[in-house]
Point group: none
Chain length 222, copies 4
DNA sequence: CATGAATGAGCCTTCATTCAT
DNA sequence: GATGAATGAAGGCTCATTCAT
């Protein structure tokens, strides 16, 4: 048994996981060196494969990028499904603060994702390569950004309708709410250093939500 | 033959403005095709120069990127100087809403900048090339991000101290305030389409500020 | 799982015919895409086999090409044997026109072959890959070209000796006779389009032979 | 003066001749190793240039092949123009043997070209790469083959009309006439060895023409 | 100073060949 | 025997940079 160990360096991982392993490697390299400068050979090495092998799973480097973004969309969709569930539960609860609770659930869920560098890297990649892959940008905008903003805006609208919030432009308010997350993605993915006192996403988001909700509930004094 | 020399040459600018022209061209190309894929020849053409000539002004493509970012820092510093002036004026005014007014001035100033694509492109470029130029990132973090956040946080702190705002974590609150701007930069620079109904930066920021200020002034109900 | 093994496999031929099937596939691909660009996998598919399997029958792609040419030599040898038979028969016939009859038989036999694209492709392949396989060229020259030309030249010599033809350089005259066939091979294999009014090889050859024989029989007026 | 000799190996040849030098190198390599296996670097070396430089003159390897064929068409057109001149002169001469003289002039002109390996290589290249470049084949067929065959056929037709030749299918007869040349191109370009007793193109063609003319003038006995 | 021809390092992609199953 | 996943050499093309003019 142990004799077969690492024989000729073939067959290291379960073949079924190859595409995913490759995408992980691609993500790492794309983020570290940018799409253009990332070398297929390095990506392959991350997955314990040789250069040529990745072409058994992906047609081109561009294809990898697209698969990467596509793969990152699923979690967003799943998240939104979860939120819908929270929403349903919440709607059957007591009358006050429903929208607030849902928004909190949404943002905390998102905050949870911010901890995973793999998740955070994708939007950064899309941003970095925007100029070269307009269709990718369009896809991401539609499947992630608009989907998420609209979901938040809808909850805010409900809150306004039920009188929980004062009248607001829901689209703008949604952006007010989402902005911090974007800032945090950029911060963590681009500017944060290992030696930084990491800002807790939860704290940040609860603080933000506190300000937002108080503001949204108050009668504007301005 | 030699009579033809120097004809149909385009629009020879004052040599003193050359570096700036080149940087403008570089910015355009860097944003359109990414740093790696941008070609020196195209950058040169934007400035009405030939390939070789840009090397009289910059040592390398990398050098151009760094100069570009360095150049973009000045406006930020200038802005903050302006804010300091506003602050001084405001402090000599009536007692209420001073911090609020300063914050409004700061954000509107920033909102004004968001309209200029040239300004907006720089942070996107830094984000895109973060992996390849750590020192650039560090420079930008220190000279722009931290400077700006700290300025905002300081004003918020003043507002808290004067009782204008309820007790808040000024750093977190500053991020709450700045987030929308980051979101807007990303949106305009990456995802917005020409046919979009453009979101007015002023409206967005005033809406955001309204929520923030109301929230910051209220006694938290949460 | 293991139950599915060996299903939807295509049409398993008798293993004895494999090499020939493979060579047929190789010929098809070599002609369609050139030797270098032909892919083993495609060749294998033509024979209903998988990539690896062809290596059980041939050592390399180069080996396939050589086998292909070797295989094409047999029909030439067979043809010449047939001609020898015709010659024998003819020799026992009446005295006039013997050489002419033999030449006619030879050319018509060859003309028959010109209709088969598989036959015609081989010399084209040899021509195309001449630079890369000098030994192949040498082999083909010796086994096919020289053999055929010499056979024709020999018949012409007989015709001269018997007075049927005027004195001629038999080698040159043989080339005069064979040239049209080469032209026709090139034309059909390279330049002819599907929508062309196909030139009948028989007509062409009989016309050619008519000219040649009249010329060879006449006393030169030039 | 001699100090500048070979300085940094730049500027060896007259730049105006570069494209032609490159094409010569390409022709050499294409013939020696086939289009696919020919390496740009080797082609460049033939012209005393580096790899990248050839891309200043040609867009791609394919482009070189096309330019090569295009370049080879001009001599053919020029030849045919020359023949037209010969034809005009001949027509004003004595009545007998006009068509024969013109055909002799045409074939001898062509025979002269056969001595130049550069000329002979082109059709071989077209034949070798036919499968990969159908448009090139079409171009060559139209601009060279059909043009030449039609020119010959036209002269033969004149000869028939004037009673110089017996009734013949001019298209087939033209092929009878041209075939030897094709054979000779193939022979010289593919099968001939340095140690062969070279067949003189003139002898071959005069012999061929002798047979052809005698045959064409005689009243068919067959 | 300005030019742009020339250079050559760099990398994606293909595919013949191998070999564990 | 048969398979097809894996390997890695090879080469076309791009473009930052240099430098003779």
């Amino acid at each position: 048994m142990s004799l077969k160990r690492d024989h000729n360096r073939r067959w290291r991982r379960a073949p079924e996981k190859r595409p995913d392993d490759i995408l992980d490697g691609a993500l790492t390299e794309f983020r570290a060196r940018g799409f253009t400068r990332a070398r297929i050979e390095d990506i392959a090495r991350h997955a314990g494969l040789s250069k040529g092998t990745v072409y058994l799973y992906f047609d081109s480097k561009e294809d990898m990028l697209k698969a990467l973004v596509r793969r990152s969309v699923k979690p967003v969709a799943d998240s939104l499904k979860n939120i819908a569930r929270v929403m349903t539960i919440s709607l059957s609860g007591p009358d006050d603060g429903k929208a607030a609770d849902i928004l909190r659930a949404m943002l905390l869920l998102a905050a949870g994702r911010l901890a995973d560098p793999k998740t955070v890297s994708i939007p950064l990649l899309v941003i970095a390569e925007a100029g070269n892959f307009p269709d990718l940008v369009e896809f991401y905008r539609h499947e992630v950004i608009e989907t998420a903003i609209n979901a938040v805006a809808k909850v805010i609208s409900c809150g306004i309708d039920s009188g929980e919030f004062r009248p607001l432009d829901a689209q703008l308010a949604a952006r007010s709410l989402m902005g911090v997350m974007v800032l945090q993605i950029i911060w963590n993915g681009v500017f944060a250093r290992p030696d930084d006192v990491a800002i807790s996403p939860e704290k940040l988001i609860l603080s933000h939500l506190g300000l937002f909700l108080d503001g949204a509930r108050s009668q504007s004094e301005d």
